[in-house]
């Protein structure tokens, strides 16, 4: 118990070079699809982690555990259980879409400096042409790499 999961607080995958935002989102979606729970957490920025922990707290998670997860002092088992739930939630947001066929398109005008928004498009089935947006991922620059701020699934308005 109490062993810090150090790799969860490290830099994003690969070098610290700032690659294209869509590459970071592709890695994020792939990690969700394959259940790479620690990769997902590593790609989350501070804001996203804070939001997820707030939601967990509202849903009844003990404050001590929330604090341990925030500080990186939770045990491996605690992280695994928490992140498995997180993956389930993210998969629910992406459910119904062929994740292998997604197309990633970065907004030409960023929402703010050091931020980006990548739209997730699903190709339409034959004989239709083109694609439809199924959601978007907002990113920010943190520790020299792109980190996820939030996943916004497209829902019926």
């Amino acid at each position: 118990m109490g062993a810090a999961v150090s790799d969860m607080d490290g830099a994003p995958t690969g070098s610290n070079e700032l690659g294209p935002p869509e590459q970071a989102v592709r890695e994020f979606v792939t990690a969700i699809a394959w259940g790479e729970h620690r990769t997902v957490w590593r790609l989350f920025g501070d804001e996203a982690r804070s939001t997820v922990l707030k939601v967990a707290s509202k849903r009844g998670m003990e404050d001590d555990l929330v604090a341990r997860l925030r500080d990186g002092t939770a045990s491996e088992d605690e992280y695994d259980e928490f992140l498995a739930d997180l993956i389930s939630g993210l998969r629910a947001d992406l459910a119904g879409n062929d994740l292998d066929a997604l197309e990633y398109e970065t907004d030409t005008v960023p929402p703010a400096p050091d931020q980006a928004r990548v739209v997730l498009n699903v190709p339409l089935p034959f004989p239709l042409e083109g694609s439809l947006p199924m959601g978007s991922v907002e990113l920010t620059v943190q520790d020299g790499g792109w980190r996820v701020v939030r996943l916004v699934p497209q829902v019926t308005k």
Binding site: W34, G35, E36, H37, A84, R91, A92, A95
Partner: protein, 251 residues
Amino acid sequence: MNTKGATPAFSAETTERYGKPFRHFPVAVSAEAMAQAWANTEDGPEGATVLVDHEIGPRGLHGRLWTVPLADSLACAIVLRPRLSAEEGEVTWLLCGLAAAQAAEAISGRAVTTWWPDQAVDAETHETLSAVRAEIHLGPGKVKSVVATFRFDLVKLGVGPDGREATLEAVMAAVEGLSGELAAEGPPAVAAAYEQRCGLLGKRVKLTLMPKGETRGIAVRVSRTARLELESPTGMVERIGVDQMLTLAVV
């Protein structure tokens, strides 16, 4: 008694075949339906076997249709009465898969593996040789009966329609042996034997789930409750129940 000399399509006398009570129907909705009726309304005993030549609705897990031509298929169902708790009932899926693989291997002489949760496949080509289904009926806290249904593709087994009787004998023998093993050693032994023969383990798989969603990972284990355990590259383990699985693909 049939006074006209022909066997009525929807009734059959109980005879004995390979030491077990046996009913043979030329036509029926399915072997499973006839065995269930026998088990539930006539208290069909352990090992009671139904053979149907022409199934009208040959459906397996989640209603999946058996598409092999009837003339090239063997369809049979066997009543089991294992002494299992309600929580352990799902292990009978593994028993069915294992019995199908053993029978297919004995008949074809080829290596046959189990393919979680409901198939036995050629170990090299991964062609489906058999599909199984375990219909589990629960009593208070325990399994009351299980109807184990088997369908074999006799052409792919390499025996053709003439091999129907030998295949029936092989599957009945396999079920009897495994039922004895289950009674003597319990679900872990059956799960271990299934796992040892499972061709899916070690492969990267993608599953679509009921009622929705999908998951992926490396198939690493099959538990005693018949759950397939998937491990992600970062070590996350997911346990997928038989009823959750809609489709499975190796990727």
